[in-house]
């Protein structure tokens, strides 16, 4: 299964690298927020607070739409062709998800580079730890995105996901910390798992490692990873997918 995953990862990475512009475009929205909204935010907040928010936005938008790739593979019969090979169906999912994780890494580096240019400063340990958290989050989101794409079908996928992403981004507190929100909105945002991941990321970027916030964020990310891969694997295994 490891070999199949590797072979499928290499294959989808090759396809992704042929569309380098696609990687850039996936990160355009958070980059625009960084450049055109960041300077305003920086008048009362810090770049170390804003950039983690935009990374979570990036994860939700870029990885949340990852399932689009499999929509075409299903339509052209490619998925079914692969499902008749001896390759494990979990490998069919994992190979793709690993490729998405690479995209997430590249896009996050782009965002961080621009953040640094604007004056963001993050301790190296916090940066590395945050990176790991973000990549795991991205992979889980990609896996869930495949599950959604194969379940709701190609007509609904793009409109549903691009709409669903907006409240998830807003409720995570990506643009303004939820501590500024009125009570009811604060409560609502606590229902979103992404708030906890984001707050942990902000702590890590601030150089606070051994906090309850970090612990909670890591735990939530781990749960998202397990749930994402389990749901993704289930859907890839399903008969009619």
């Amino acid at each position: 299964m490891l070999r199949d995953t590797w072979v499928l990862f290499r294959h989808s990475l090759r396809a992704t690298l042929k569309q380098k512009l696609g990687i850039v475009f996936g990160a355009v929205q958070p980059l625009l927020f960084l450049v055109l909204f960041g300077p305003i935010f920086a008048t009362f907040g810090t770049w170390e607070v804003l950039v983690p928010g935009l990374i979570v936005q990036l994860g939700l938008m870029s990885m949340g739409l990852a399932g689009f790739g499999v929509v075409f593979d299903r339509r052209f019969g490619v998925l079914e062709r692969l499902r008749v090979t001896p390759a494990s169906r979990l490998a069919l999912l994992l190979g793709r998800v690993l490729n998405n994780a690479v995209t997430m890494v590249v896009q996050t580096v782009m965002l961080l580079a621009v953040g640094f240019a604007f004056g963001m400063r993050v301790p190296i340990a916090g940066l590395v730890a945050g990176f790991v958290l973000v990549v795991v989050l991205g992979a889980s989101l990609a896996a869930m995105s495949y599950a959604v794409a194969l379940t709701i079908g190609e007509q609904l996928f793009a409109p549903v996901m691009s709409t669903a992403v907006i409240p998830l981004v807003l409720l995570s507190g990506a643009f303004l910390p939820m501590s500024m929100a009125p009570g009811w909105l604060d409560v609502l945002s606590r229902l979103s798992p992404f708030r906890y991941v984001l707050e942990a990321l902000r702590d890590l970027f601030a150089g606070h490692y051994a906090t309850g916030t970090v612990g909670l964020g890591v735990a939530v990310t781990a749960v998202l990873a397990v749930v994402g891969l389990a749901v993704g694997a289930r859907v890839f295994n399903r008969e009619t997918a």
């Binding site: 199949d4 072979v7 090759r14 396809a15 019969g77 490619v78 062709r81 692969l82 499902r83 001896p86």
Partner: protein, 245 residues
């Protein structure tokens, strides 16, 4: 090569697509699987190729138990679905290489293997294109090429020539015949074209309403009638109308 006993499939919601099918195919045969639309052809095909789990019944496919050992079955069969599996946007060479490697070949072996298969199907050189740049006949032969990379002993073809022009059909028949004559591949195919069944198959199975309604060589089934008449007598429905011919 292929043997099923009492194979059934009931979908969620209670639709009984296949109501107990016994099929037996010997090594080296070309067997045609005929039936009106909705008779259960594709459902049966998808069960035999490990894509659908039968509701009940047993099957041995290419020497392995379908339910107990689907992975060993997958190693030994080739499957060309109705719609095919050519990615219209990706270079075919990349896709062929991936397919070969998923059957355990090294990259180098996968490459030399697909070149060999493409040459056999008169497709050499076309692998640098993307799927969308192929003609209908070429695309269908690529579908078959994908299914042959691991040298399967048993090949399933679901409506291999639907939508092809007469030349491409005749050409594909030649390739299917030579697979059997020169490489000993056993072939199980569905078709809506009775001339195809007549010209290509050693034996025919006719399925109607989820059950095998008749079985025999084309000559036996015809018994003095045209195959169309025989088919209509057996199934009581007009195949030609449904196929839109």
């Amino acid at each position: 090569m292929l043997r099923t006993t009492g194979l059934t499939k009931t979908f969620e919601g209670g639709v009984e697509a296949v109501k107990g099918v016994d099929i037996s195919v010997e090594a080296g045969e070309i067997v045609g699987f005929l039936g009106p639309n909705g008779a259960g052809k594709t459902t049966t095909m998808r069960m035999l190729t490990t894509l659908l789990r039968p509701t009940s019944g047993t099957a041995t496919v290419a020497g392995h138990d379908l339910l107990g050992d689907p992975r060993e079955v997958r190693r030994r069969i080739g499957y060309v679905s109705q719609g095919g599996g050519v990615n219209v946007m990706a270079p075919l060479a990349d896709e062929l290489e991936l397919q070969g490697m998923l059957y355990g070949l090294t990259r180098a072996a996968a490459r030399s293997r697909y070149r060999e298969v493409l040459a056999r199907l008169d497709l050499a050189g076309l692998e640098e294109r993307v799927g969308g740049a192929l003609s209908g006949g070429q695309r269908r032969r690529f579908d078959i090429a994908f299914a042959l990379l691991h040298d399967p002993r048993l090949l399933f073809l679901d409506e291999p020539t639907t939508g092809l022009d007469p030349q491409s059909r005749a050409n594909l028949w030649e390739h299917v015949r030579s697979l059997r004559e020169e490489h000993g591949v056993t072939i199980f195919l569905t078709t809506h074209y009775l001339d195809e069944a007549d010209a290509l198959c050693d034996r025919l199975l006719i399925i109607d309403g989820g059950r095998i309604a008749a079985e025999g060589t084309p000559a036996e089934l015809k018994a003095g009638r045209t195959l169309d008449e025989a088919f209509l007598d057996i199934t009581g429905r007009s195949l030609r109308e449904e196929a839109g011919v």
